[in-house]
């Protein structure tokens, strides 16, 4: 293994380049919407973004999963809908997915 404290210039350079493109990705979107005139019509589009992105993250992830993940996701949905407690929903989901993976 390389010396724990070694910082090779090339490696540091690659890490910094990764940092720059990541920061651009993180702040670029809100920078654009803050500096460009936003019409009502565009605003309506921006307003559906939060939910749409959540669904876009979730869809392929659940599609790639199996019955254990689907069952646990359904339980999270029910617990969240009934209790509106995110902590309770998360704990239920993790316990459920571990149990279902052993059972199924």
């Amino acid at each position: 293994m390389a010396d724990v404290l070694s910082l090779e210039p090339l490696v540091v350079g690659v890490i910094l380049a990764m940092t720059v493109v990541t920061v651009i990705a993180k702040v670029g979107g809100i920078w654009l919407v803050r500096h460009v005139e936003v019409s009502d019509r565009l605003q309506a589009g921006l307003d559906v973004l939060p939910g749409a992105i959540v669904i876009a993250v979730l869809g392929p992830e659940l599609a790639a999963g199996g019955p254990a993940e689907w069952g646990a996701a359904a339980l999270v949905l029910v617990v969240m809908w009934r209790t509106e407690s995110i902590v309770l929903a998360l704990v239920t989901g993790v316990v459920a997915v571990v149990s279902l993976r052993t059972l199924l």
């Binding site: 990764m18 493109v21 920061v23 702040v27 919407v33 921006l46 973004l49 993940e69 949905l77 995110i86």
Partner: protein, 256 residues
């Protein structure tokens, strides 16, 4: 950072219930940026951050195997702070380092944050640039989801994202160091259900963001687009594409 002493309670009393509308756009003036939100975000995110630590350990192990030193792996977690892209980067790592592929892939994996950040604009539009950009640099999937949940439920604590980001950052960097040190003696984080936390956060968030029948069409478009794109395209382009397709449909539908 975050020396703003204006309390959420004070702001709430000066601008209370202007409308009965609960939508994400209702009275964004009330969003504040203070210690109250910072602390609430930090505490709310701690359990999730500990779970994310499982991935940090996995990243540390992978970075170690790729030949990065402890200092290099820790530096990457401190500055890049975007888990999936870091794990993919060390998987691409080789000798000589494929610099262009690593940097381009990092951007492709993280470009979804542009839309996630833009999605916060309805709440953040009256915060100062330094408050917004310092929060966004510490934005990751988990604390974005928790902050959206917080803000969508009617809270106006704008520093919640930053506070939760600090909790995540500390756990991410700490667990990276642990992972490098632990080397290959670590098992699969999936056996503890850690890999399901992110999906669970997003399901809970979807419940929170559901806004009745008008939500259905854009969500179906986002779902169909993302599932198709995930099968057809590399990386995580499906996330920005799904969000973008839904926004386009909504723009076309508007007034129509």
């Amino acid at each position: 950072m975050a020396t703003d002493t204006e309390s959420d309670a004070a702001a709430r009393s000066t601008a209370s219930d202007a409308t009965g509308d609960d939508g994400p756009d209702s009275d964004p003036e009330r969003v504040t940026f203070g210690w109250d939100g910072l602390r609430a975000g930090f505490l709310a995110c701690l359990p999730v951050a500990v779970g994310v630590g499982g991935y940090g350990v996995a990243f540390g192990v992978l970075a170690n195997q790729a030949g990065l030193s402890l200092a290099e792996a820790a530096l990457m977690s401190m500055t890049v702070f975007a888990g999936a892209s870091q794990i993919i980067a060390v998987e691409l790592w080789a000798d000589p380092i494929p610099i262009a592929a690593i940097v381009a892939t990092t951007f492709a994996v993280n470009v979804r944050y542009s839309l996630m950040g833009a999605a916060l604009q309805p709440w953040f539009r009256h915060l100062s640039p330094s408050q917004i950009y310092s929060s966004l640099v510490l934005m990751a999937d988990e604390n974005w989801a928790l902050s959206m949940q917080e803000l969508a439920s009617g809270s106006r604590r704008g520093a919640f994202l930053l506070g939760s980001g600090v909790a995540l950052w500390l756990c991410w960097v700490g667990s990276t160091i642990l992972g490098v040190l632990a080397g290959e003696s670590v098992g699969d984080p999936a056996q503890y259900g850690v890999d399901f936390i992110l999906a669970a956060v997003f399901v809970a968030l979807a419940v929170e963001l559901w806004d009745g029948r008008s939500t259905l069409a854009p969500w179906l478009v986002a779902l169909a687009t993302s599932v198709l794109a995930a099968n057809a395209l590399p990386g995580q382009w499906y996330i920005p594409l799904g969000g973008f397709a839904a926004a386009v449909v909504e723009v076309v539908r508007h007034d129509g």
